[in-house]
Symmetry: C2
Subunit: 236 residues, 2 copies
Amino acid sequence: MNKRNEHIVKSYDEELARLRGEILGMGELALEQMSGGMRALREGDGALAEEVIAADARIDKLELEVSGDVLRLLALRQPMAGDLRGVLSSLRIAADIERIGDYAANVAKRSLALSEAQPRAAVNGLSEMVEFASGMLREVLDAYAAGDAVRALDVRDRDVDLDARYNSLFRELLTYMMESPSVIGTCTHFLFIAKNIERIGDHVTNIAENIWFQAEGELPADERPKGDNTNIPLTP
Amino acid sequence: MNKRNEHIVKSYDEELARLRGEILGMGELALEQMSGGMRALREGDGALAEEVIAADARIDKLELEVSGDVLRLLALRQPMAGDLRGVLSSLRIAADIERIGDYAANVAKRSLALSEAQPRAAVNGLSEMVEFASGMLREVLDAYAAGDAVRALDVRDRDVDLDARYNSLFRELLTYMMESPSVIGTCTHFLFIAKNIERIGDHVTNIAENIWFQAEGELPADERPKGDNTNIPLTP
């Protein structure tokens, strides 16, 4: 390889590293938004909720930057095979993180609608779901940074546990609503918040599968585990 | 242009046309799934619900084919500027239609959980939402087939009306739940189904913006209209 090619290769790697950095930055921001949104809900902190809602635009902007970088990379560098997959997966991973950001902001938005975060047991259940989902996101970002496809699939397998937590909380919320019509409004918001967090787990799963795709060139062979069982008969 | 270049150009156009055809096929299937899912719910037709749930895999498969075609196109043809945008937008549009398919299948899945589709007024409200959202999807697919960016943005503007229908139905459902705890289970499913249809409108909006991006090279300047107002205080 002559000097000139070395230079081109290095510069291309730099651009890929930049893309990776942008995506990891998006992920960090999404993690902050998740904990911020949940704290705003738990503590009834309206100012924090407004901050979280406003900060969502930063994640959206980062996603646009990633898209722009991908377009530029494809146009100028015309990457092949593994590199091409890597670049396209980045686009998908950025889209998944952007959606996670939307769900986090929606938790903050819904918190503004509640006069008090009650019943407390349900709020604790939501907090635990957020912590569990944040752990999954943190882990999948680490797998992305390390390019570790096996670790990514390990994270995917944890989604069934998040779904199990969602199923339990869903049932718990229905019982509160049946016992006391006055909490129906609040618990409806809690149902949607729980669903948001369950969806965050699905997006982490997508990210994990894209890390695998990036490394292996195909989607993982085994079916992803499915764990949302709230579609069971509920009415007499 | 010599004979050889003409041949290459023609073949490239054919590949783009093929991509477009696959996406329109996905769209048609999604439309069928939306009406099938809603009919299964309205008529309590479990066999139809199962069909709709099974057919979702066909849309997923088509999305994978689109992704494969895009990868191949990028690798072999290395399109520039407008063509590159077109190819990348196709990827995004396919992802949006795939999600619409998921939401339609989820309506069918939830219909299986209901022993009867009551209260009837709420079911009618859901039917009207599905019809409205289907009209939006049909129109945005026509705009895509015609490459008509202005028409696409017209469809986007209709999303506020879908959101308004969602807001009304959301409130209506809460009143049924407060009046009669025995319908809380069913109405919770209806709340999620209404939210699914509202989300379908968001995905149609994304598709419209991608058609614009494909034609103009940038996202539409004006903010998309926001109309989900169900985050208003509901509790005393």
